[in-house]
């Protein structure tokens, strides 16, 4: 089943044009890059790693958004994402780990990998239908979008720590932004989404500073 699903992503009937093949390969590359970054984001504990993965995730978002938006508008996603990462990084001076161990949820890497793989397979299965339903001819983009939203929801479900929650919300919104970019190209929407992304990271910064101040 997985083979046939992956087959739908591998466009065998592409016209014999090197540029289109190149774009297809790049789509695959950024899909795998974003997927790796998202899984890394779930498994890592060190803040440098987490923010690094988040930045890579935004690179993926930028790539898939620029397939439909003008480059000059799509780059805004990357810039706002990097600003969000920097804002979160500025709250981490003198610390190594982003968050304490959760007490009430399963924490093992195996559990996270298992739940991530469920999201991965579910989104892989759903992506072609969603693509059909929305009439969007970019399966890679749709899959990445669903994947990010799925990982966002998954992280929201297994953590209550402010910083993890902010990152989960940023991931969720990143996924939504990809799918929404296919259907809405308004500059005002892009601007407001940037405000929300940067605003969320500033809220994260504020909440994390508050948490640090209360630590003995």
């Amino acid at each position: 089943m997985v083979d046939s699903l992956i087959g739908t992503f591998y466009l065998t009937d592409l016209p014999d044009c090197p540029l289109i093949h190149m774009i297809n390969i790049l789509n695959w590359f950024f899909l795998l890059l974003t997927m790796t970054a998202s899984i890394g984001l779930m498994l890592s504990r060190g803040w440098k790693w987490i923010l690094g993965f988040l930045a890579i995730q935004y690179l993926g978002v930028f790539w898939f958004v620029q397939t439909v938006w003008p480059f000059s508008l799509a780059i805004v996603k990357l810039i706002s994402g990097i600003i969000a990462c920097l804002a979160l990084a500025s709250s981490q001076e003198g610390t190594t780990s982003f968050s304490k161990l959760e007490t009430s949820w399963p924490q093992g890497i195996l559990f996270r990998l298992f739940s991530a793989s469920i999201v991965l397979l579910t989104t892989l299965g759903v992506a072609p239908q969603v693509s059909n339903w929305l009439g969007i001819n970019n399966l890679h983009g749709i899959w990445v979008s669903l994947l990010l939203m799925g990982f966002g929801f998954l992280q929201l479900g297994i953590t209550a720590q402010p910083m993890r929650v902010i990152i989960a919300l940023l991931t969720l919104l990143s996924g939504f932004e990809i799918i929404y970019s296919y259907i809405e190209t308004s500059t005002l929407v892009a601007a407001l989404l940037v405000v929300i992304n940067v605003g969320l990271s500033l809220v994260g910064l504020y909440l994390l500073k508050a948490t640090d101040q209360e630590r003995p």
């Binding site: 209550a160 402010p162 308004s186 929407v189 601007a191 407001l192 929300i196 969320l200 809220v203 508050a210």
Partner: protein, 465 residues
């Protein structure tokens, strides 16, 4: 000059300026004065028609264009502007009298003006993005002392943020439905996404768990603003959808869904309120029940439902603010709101205790209190629809009433033989007395607020008819 500049941009700028002002007295005076002036301007100035001041002629246009999108505040929106800015003024007064930090004033102004822009923006789907921005601004208001954020605050942020993608996406689907109205499957999908968005945005059961948690974690004054303005604007935003899309408005399924979700929200709030042992959480359950009442009001077909919906707004606003003020005064800065820690406080804070109990009973809809006329009218309408809805409405209110009676018992019970001793200061006593008077007068003479309430539905083109 245009209306959005007066009621959106100027308050935003003033809100930012107020944040930087160091003198608390000036901030308080401006904080109370600005919304008062804005509501008076909304009352007296005509929009889109010239008026003369001395030798000068002015005209305030209702439209402002930004990046190809419009902000429109027409003369039909003026009653809403009066209501929102005068309510904000009342909130400031209540907060200041209760001794809340003055820095919060600027946040209130910023959040309110942003939410007004959410009402004004065309296409109105952009409102979801603006509401989310306002939610982000509200975080420092709810956690001003930089404490470790509690579960309530985190859930509030998560649930409200999740609402935005659902609403934006449903907007796109709704546009598709408009272009091909015959496609029933698309309509269903749009309705599901829209419903999910509003369940999160309006904190409808079961996504309202953050309200009691947040209420427990936060100062009642700050919390009262958030739990007043976001549901109010969220409901108005929802009504815009109904007003715009006739297929949603005319759907019988929608009315059933609204009724069921309203009654479930109410009953869940009422049952929890009956067993509650924390004063801070009780106000949260009362507000949850009010949300349920609003949904029930909207579910009543025709202009009666809309009249009931707007009729609930004013008594609710006044009651929430006075309740929160009384709670802030009684709890001070140290108490966690547990019943055990406030035993006999009715003897130390008699004025605040009376306001607290009256506000509680006003939400229940007890006779001669502010909430009575409109709750009675809603109950009558529900009874006409189905006796079952009326029965469950009664059960929910009995739950809240039980909570109120327990509060009353806790406040007046004292193990020590001590007399009455008012620890409120003079301004608090005066203001709380005004609160008592208003809560009773609105119950006895509801026609006093009819002129404003009767004009509010005019902001909708189809629903009001």
């Amino acid at each position: 000059m245009s209306a959005p500049i007066i009621w959106i941009f100027i308050p935003v700028i003033l809100g930012i300026i107020l944040w930087f002002l160091p003198d608390s007295r000036i901030v308080v005076l401006l904080g109370i004065g600005i919304p008062l002036v804005l509501s008076l301007i909304a009352w007296f100035l005509p929009l889109d028609s010239p008026f003369v001041v001395g030798n000068l002629s002015f005209k305030i246009s209702s439209n402002l264009t930004i990046l190809g999108r419009h902000l429109i505040l027409s003369s039909n929106d003026q009653p809403l502007l009066i209501f929102i800015y005068s309510s904000l003024c009342l909130w400031y007064l209540c907060s200041v009298v209760a001794g809340s930090p003055y820095k919060l004033i600027s946040y209130g102004l910023l959040i309110t003006s942003l939410l007004i822009s959410a009402i004004a923006v065309e296409p109105f789907l952009y409102a979801a993005l603006i509401i989310e921005t306002a939610i982000l601004i509200s975080i420092p208001l709810l956690n001003p002392r930089k404490k470790t954020p509690g579960r309530g605050l985190i859930r509030y942020l998560v649930f409200q943020t999740i609402a935005m993608p659902f609403i934006l996406f449903s907007g796109w689907l709704l546009a598709g439905v408009s272009s091909s109205p015959g496609e029933l499957s698309l309509s269903g999908q749009a309705a599901i996404f829209l419903g999910l968005g509003f369940i999160f945005l309006l904190a409808i059961f079961p996504f309202n768990t953050w309200i009691p948690l947040l209420s427990e974690e936060t100062n009642p004054s700050q919390m009262s603003l958030i739990l007043w303005i976001f549901p109010t604007i969220g409901l108005l935003f929802g009504l815009y959808f109904l007003d715009t899309y006739s297929w949603i408005r005319d759907s019988n399924y929608l009315l059933i869904v609204l009724r069921l979700s309203g009654i479930i929200t109410m009953v869940s709030g009422g049952v929890w309120a009956a067993f509650q042992k924390n004063l801070k959480r009780l106000i949260a359950y009362a507000i949850i029940m009010e949300m349920g009442s609003s949904l029930l009001a909207i579910s009543i077909k025709g202009s009666i439902g809309i009249d009931l919906f707007f009729g609930l707004l004013l008594p609710r606003t006044i009651t929430i603010f006075f309740w929160a003020m009384a709670l802030t005064i009684i709890l001070g800065t140290n108490s966690n709101g547990q019943f055990a820690s406030i035993k006999g406080f009715g003897r130390k804070y008699p004025f605040a205790s009376i306001v607290l109990v009256l506000s509680h009973f006003s939400f229940v809809g007890l006779p001669l209190l502010a909430g009575f006329p409109i709750h009675m009218a809603l109950w009558v309408q529900l009874g006409k629809l189905s006796i079952y809805y009326a029965f469950w409405y009664l059960i929910a209110n009995i739950g809240l009433l039980t909570g109120g009676i327990r509060v009353l018992a806790v406040l007046v019970t004292s193990s020590e033989k001590e007399g009455f001793l008012s620890l409120e200061n003079w301004s608090q006593r005066i203001f709380l007395s005004i609160g008592i008077l208003i809560l009773i007068l609105l119950g006895i003479l509801p026609q006093w607020i009819t002129p404003l309430l009767s004009r509010l539905p005019s902001m909708f083109n189809h629903l009001a008819k």
